[in-house]
Amino acid sequence: MMKVVTSEHQEKMSCLGLPLRSFRRLGRIVLIACHGMGQALIMLGSATLYIRTVWRPRARREVVDQLYITGIKSLGVISVVAVFTGMILALQTGLELRRYGQEEFIGSAVAVSVIREMGPFMTGLIIAASVGSAIAAQLGTMAVSEEIAALEVMSINPNRFLVMPRLVALALMMPILTVYTNMLGIIGGGIVGATQLGVSFQVYLDNATRYAENKDLFVGLFKSLVFGIIIATVACHQGLMTSEGAVGVGRATRQTVITSFLFILIVGYMITRLFYI
């Protein structure tokens, strides 16, 4: 009798086994994600509190170094991407508008898209892929070679010494780079308008300035500031938490790019919704 009950029980459990296992795995993933997010937010809070020490000579030097890496060293790739983003937008929109004889309005379409969305979005993706991954790789290498432990033993808080300068640099530089991306994107659109669609640069610019509002610019800049904070937080957290040698550094770098991209998309959508609906 017992045998029968046991086999029935086992049969039931095997039917439930797969969903249960999947549920358990999902729960574990959610717990790990929440734990990681909590750690990252604590790190962000701690680094934010240390911003008051930014005027110390050593911190100032580190911030300037990070501003240089984030800003000047990213200008090349940002320039190319910005110009081509504007050109593609102008070409796609212009071809559609031409069907209705309204191609002179590409200026407004490109300007509004670039300033509201594409400028901060493209800048965020480029900086996440170039600067974010570099930060994760650098801090990750420091973690596996015990340099972070050495700082802790010397009572030098890594959140002040390493995270704060990167956070300040990214939060300052992202809006500046976004303005630069916006300008080049609009110029790129203008080039396509003038050379491919027969819209003079003057008409293009008139339309661009007429329909783009200050609000678009400010929301775009706010987004870029938030993206900068997201990239710095994700990259520093992934870097500092790195373990397991070179494999771990590779994992941290990849995870930084993926997580930053996801947050940029989701938070970007939420900010747009907040200000425009």
Binding site: M142, E146, A149, A150, M154, S155
Partner: protein
């Protein structure tokens, strides 16, 4: 000076330290030996609160470092200097800046005084020539000497050495052993050395403790250690061709 009281630690579900208790007397060089993965570095990390025990207590003098937090932990850590296995120098700072870092972060010394102090420590370790170089320009042995200069620049009471001779050629290894011995003799520093190099352990240690499988299998003076009846210790000695006292005594004479 340093006391472990019934310390147990699990990492990734594996028992690394199993109810470990020992004491490191003040001013002594205490060596911890064992095979890779035996729990030597884990023991060392407990001394500076890079790891905390699951149960048990780690004391530094009257302070319980294993339960310390915040400023109290900073104060206790200021009693230590640590030479990490790979030296752990910050790669974007020069040799001078690396050694000067603790002084710049924790003292109000003038730049002139910092320069004087750093050069003095680098001189002690015969590294004054490398002052403007970067860690990537230095050999493994030179990096360790710079790491040692950084560890002692704040004049700590205790210096911890994690595998100070690993990855170094025998000549440089004996040179590092000599430096550790000199620091103890000249500055009266309490030293804890983690190594699997028995030649080094027998040369510099006042006491040698062997850990195996998370437990202490021997804790003795060098003389008693090589005459230990413990099978694990015997195998460990034999694996490094140390069967007679003469082997290590010669080694010690060569660098003193």
């Amino acid at each position: 000076m340093i006391a472990f009281e019934n310390v147990t630690k699990r990492l990734g579900g594996k028992l690394i330290l199993d109810d470990v208790s020992f004491e490191v007397p003040k001013g002594e060089t205490f060596v911890i030996v064992g095979l890779s993965g035996a729990g030597k570095s884990v023991t060392l990390k407990h001394m500076i609160h890079l790891l905390v025990p699951d149960s048990g207590v780690v004391r530094i003098g009257d302070d319980v470092i294993s339960r310390a937090r915040g400023l109290e932990l900073e104060r206790m850590r200021s009693r230590f200097g640590v030479l990490f296995q790979g030296a752990a120098l910050l790669q974007w700072l020069s040799v001078f800046e690396n050694v000067a870092l603790p002084l710049r972060e924790h003292t109000k010394m003038s730049e002139e005084k910092i320069q004087k102090t750093v050069l003095k420590k680098l001189n002690m370790l015969n590294m004054q020539e490398a002052v403007d170089k970067y860690p990537s320009d230095l050999s493994g042995g030179m990096q360790k000497r710079v790491g040692l200069a950084r560890a002692i620049v704040m004049n700590p009471e205790i210096v911890l050495y994690d595998e100070p001779t690993s990855g170094l050629d025998p000549v440089t290894s004996r040179l590092i052993d000599g430096l550790i011995d000199n620091l103890r003799n000249e500055l009266g520093i309490t030293s804890v050395v983690v190594t699997h190099d028995l030649h080094s352990a027998l040369s510099i240690g006042a006491r040698i403790m062997m850990i195996d499988g998370g437990k202490i299998v021997e804790n003795a003076t060098p003389h008693d250690f090589i005459e230990s009846k413990n099978e694990t210790v015997k195998r460990f000695l034999e694996s490094q061709y140390i069967t007679r006292r003469g082997n290590w005594e010669k080694g010690m004479e060569s660098h003193v």
